[in-house]
């Protein structure tokens, strides 16, 4: 049975359209693929990441952790749940009868994606910082200068007649742009509500 919460005397503000759009974008996010990628060479190593999982492929061989896969699935389900709540809450905002439930649902879900996005970018930034200090931490015989989050460079190292040059590319994908848009619209939806 659907819980019925009424706030008599408080008029409906109409459908929360930013919330509706944000909800739909959030629902699409788990199906849009990775948010960030790191490529060494032309595909010698491909590392893709999103809050829904990480994938590592070295010379075409995939390496994965079951726990990361299951946790990625958990985040996917949570994001779908948040998107659904945001969509339902934003639509219910147009009714007087369920206005309070709508407020509860939108307030709960509106900023969640933004936090997820910030946590993801912060984790990537920490990864970039650690990777840039890897030569000092691991005592590598060559300096390692990688871009922070976005960019391309080339790592060169040489020992005893062997020289290796590795082009490095890292960057965000279109799915990340959709996530940013959805997070911003969620923020607007929260304020609107």
């Amino acid at each position: 049975m659907t819980p019925e919460i009424r706030e008599p005397g408080k008029p409906s503000r109409g459908i929360n359209w930013p919330g509706v759009i944000a909800g739909l974008l959030v629902l699409a996010l788990p199906f849009l693929g990775s948010w960030w990628r790191l490529i060494l060479g032309t595909g010698a190593l491909i590392f893709t990441a999103s809050p829904f999982g990480v994938q590592l492929s070295i010379f075409g061989e995939s390496i994965h952790s079951p726990l990361v896969w299951w946790l990625g699935l958990a985040v996917q389900l949570c994001v779908l749940y948040i998107g659904l709540l945001l969509l339902i809450g934003s639509l219910l905002a147009g009714t007087r009868r369920y206005a309070a439930i709508a407020t509860l649902l939108v307030r709960f879900s509106a900023r969640k994606l933004l936090w997820l996005l910030l946590a993801f970018v912060a984790a990537l930034f920490v990864f970039s910082v650690l990777a840039n200090h890897l030569s000092e931490l691991a005592g590598l015989p060559f300096p390692l200068h990688l871009p922070y989050l976005v960019g391309s460079t080339s790592i060169a190292a040489g020992v005893d007649g062997l020289r290796i040059t590795i082009p490095v590319f890292m960057g965000f994908t279109r799915a990340f742009t959709v996530a940013v848009l959805a997070a911003l619209l969620g923020l607007v939806a929260g304020e609107y509500q």
């Binding site: 390496i63 952790s65 299951w70 309070a100 509860l104 007649g161 040059t165 590795i166």
Partner: protein
């Protein structure tokens, strides 16, 4: 009251999803912690990636023959290259310096060569041959001393440049 219950349920569901998924992972892997965390044995993955010396008993380079072009102006060295890599490799450049009776001759790869994964490919090196108009069409390899060798290979965009000097007699 209803609002409080609804709020509690709404907040609780994500936590339940995460716990259920982590629990499912352990249950699927028979509550074996290493299998749950790592999955496949990393050593098996490394064995697939890194060419094992035991599986690859061929020398990387096999000298076929050293010939002289019809007009006696070019020395041609044909090599058979065996790749231990599990991915295709492109030989972008190869330079070999050989010495014949004290005369240094530089041979360079005429074209890029793609060697299939764990396969073989022919590499042809050519160089100007100074003053050997009376040379036979096929020269014995042991007359030549390999003084320097430089090879540049591309493995999935990663460029490896190997350089060796004072390598000894070709044959």
């Amino acid at each position: 009251m209803t609002a409080r219950i609804l709020s509690a349920v709404v907040h609780l569901i994500p936590a339940l999803i995460i716990i259920a998924c982590a629990g499912s992972d352990f249950a699927v892997h028979g509550w074996d912690v290493p299998a749950t965390l790592i999955g496949e044995d990393p050593l098996v993955v490394v064995e697939r990636l890194v060419p094992a010396a035991a599986d690859f008993d061929e020398e990387p380079f096999e000298l076929n023959e050293l010939t002289v072009s019809e007009d006696r102006s070019t020395l041609v060295l044909d090599l058979l290259v065996h790749s231990p890599f599990t991915v295709p490799v492109t030989i972008k450049d190869a330079v070999v310096q050989v010495a014949l009776n004290g005369t240094a001759i530089t041979l360079r790869a005429s074209d890029e060569v793609i060697i299939p994964a764990r396969g073989s490919g022919s590499l042809r090196l050519e160089g100007a041959l100074p003053g050997l108009t009376a040379a036979p069409a096929v020269l014995p390899l042991d007359q030549f001393t390999l003084s320097r060798m430089s090879i540049t290979v591309d493995v999935s965009g990663i460029e490896l440049e190997l350089e060796s000097s004072e390598l000894g007699v070709l044959g």
